[in-house]
């Protein structure tokens, strides 16, 4: 592809934006250490609200396609998120859904289990909030000086590719720093004509198989009689697969890329790298995986064993709800 772009100092432009996100992805980019100097040496930072002052209208004034690379993190929860996603899509040659929020919804996407009113109730009308007048945010408000607006809160959170076409996906909550560094290296090589970009739509900065494939724990095809919360266990076998010890580990459906960090530290994988290649629905794959370790053929006993996973929806869709086949629970879209 052509990677030239008009720029004041001759360097291609780089942008990063946060929509419905926590800021962790921004920190992860800053965490790449001295690699950040390579970014500076090879790119002109055109727009990066967390790092420098910039106005949306400055971006609007740029010619379409004039930003070479945009890392977009965060899901689309309100009209501002959507507007900027569309704006940056127009202005960018390469738009990357950066991190779990932009790729699949992540923790902000879990709000797709609740209706907008339930969310607003929790934020504005629970004991932790002092709001005696029951004030709620209003999309529009008439001031003496004229009408003012805040972004519109949408009924559900959408992933970036549910709003605009996305060129690449970079999974992880947040993506691991060494993976970010590798992707930046690759883009710089492409700039110098030393490498080619992967095909559009590819997942970058991760593997294709599962966390289980990277996990050194042994699988003995052991079956279990109960699921347990990891904090309730006195002893965790350091070598045996956690799932085979009854600990709900999401490794079997989760994309490799982190190096199986959590299970190596004796914590279950909670799935932050999203679905592995070939997984149609992340939660569905885990339903199959968890069902396969249950040691019972008796419906009543199986139900009893399943009581050990008190919130299967949360367990299986902690990161992937907005990106799943069903996308949002009924209260969210029924209102």
């Amino acid at each position: 592809m052509t990677t030239q772009s008009p720029s004041t100092n001759g360097k291609p432009k780089f942008a990063m934006y946060w929509a419905a996100s926590c800021g962790g992805c921004e920190i992860a980019v800053l965490n790449i250490g001295e690699k950040i100097l390579d970014v500076d040496a090879n790119f002109e930072v055109a727009f990066w609200p967390v790092a420098m002052d910039a106005k949306y209208k400055d971006v609007e004034a740029m010619p379409d396609g004039s930003i070479l690379l945009t890392l977009f993190n965060g899901g689309i929860r309100n009209s501002e998120n959507e507007e900027i996603a569309k704006l940056l899509r127009r202005k960018s040659q390469i738009l990357v859904a950066f991190g779990s929020c932009a790729s699949e919804g992540c923790i902000p996407g879990l709000a797709n289990l609740s209706s907008s009113n339930q969310i607003l109730d929790t934020v504005y009308s629970t004991v932790s909030t002092d709001n005696p007048q029951g004030i709620r945010p209003q999309h529009k408000y008439a001031m003496p000086e004229g009408e003012i607006q805040i972004p519109k809160f949408y009924p559900v959170l959408r992933t970036l590719d549910q709003v605009v076409p996305v060129d690449y996906y970079m999974p992880g909550c947040p993506p691991e720093s060494h993976q970010i560094a590798a992707v930046i290296d690759l883009v710089i090589k492409v700039l110098h004509g030393e490498a080619q970009l992967p095909p559009k739509g590819a997942v970058i900065g991760a593997g294709g198989s599962t966390v289980c494939d990277d996990c050194p724990r042994k699988r003995n095809v052991k079956l279990i009689k109960k699921f347990v919360r990891i904090q309730d266990l006195e002893h965790i076998d350091p070598e045996l697969c956690l799932l085979e010890q009854g600990i709900p580990c999401n490794g079997p459906a989760t994309r490799s890329g982190c190096g199986a960090l959590c299970p190596q530290a004796s914590a279950q994988c909670i799935g932050c790298y999203g679905p592995a290649d070939g997984v149609v629905d992340y939660g569905a794959r885990l339903v199959a995986a968890f069902a396969s370790v249950i040691d019972s053929n008796d419906p009543e006993e199986i139900e009893h064993i399943l009581d050990g996973i008190p919130d299967p929806t949360g367990q299986f869709y902690r990161f992937n709800l907005a990106g799943s086949l069903l996308r949002a629970a009924r209260p969210a879209w029924e209102g």
């Binding site: 289990l113 549910q162 149609v280 939660g283 249950i294 299967p312 929806t313 086949l325 069903l326 009924r330």
Partner: protein, 157 residues
């Protein structure tokens, strides 16, 4: 509203038992409601939970899964696997607001055409009582935001 509502049910049936049972019901002219669209699998153990989610996401009001009776699966224990998946799937779907009654697992041998027909009739009535599911057709970037499924409230019989 739900009186004229004809539920759409997707049935995933095992080739060796329940698919034949449905066939038998047909040849024996046993009447059962036409609401079920049967999809034949080689065994209930082939049922990927994603099939059920896809069906519900794309317009089904319910999903029926059928397999050989316990102990009679042609691939040994695969129907037990289907049972474990089904029970966990049902709980997961409940967290999405999908009533447990919308997804059912029924065992039926090849000889049980009448029983399967009755099970189907019961399920149709149960789902009629629950009403349409109407999962939204989610639009992606090239379309609108959320559009209610464009289906008439009641499909004329």
């Amino acid at each position: 509203m739900t009186e004229n509502f004809e539920p759409t049910i997707i049935g995933f049936t095992c080739n060796w038992c329940s698919y034949r049972a449905a066939d038998l019901a047909g040849t024996a002219r046993v009447k059962y409601p036409p609401n079920v669209r049967l999809i034949r699998l080689m065994c209930s153990g082939r049922l990927d939970p994603a099939f059920v989610m896809k069906a519900l996401a794309e317009g089904a009001d319910g999903v029926l899964i059928t397999g050989c009776h316990p102990g009679e699966c042609h691939y040994l224990e695969q129907n037990y696997k289907a049972l474990r998946r089904f029970l966990l799937l049902r709980r997961t779907l409940a967290g999405m607001g999908i009533e447990p009654g919308r997804v059912k697992l029924v065992w039926a041998s090849a000889a049980e055409g009448v029983r399967l027909a009755n099970e189907i009739a019961t399920m149709v009535e149960e789902i009629r009582a629950l009403g349409p599911l109407r999962w939204p057709r989610w639009h992606t970037w090239n379309g609108l935001f959320i559009e209610e499924k464009s289906r008439a409230e009641g499909v004329p019989a």
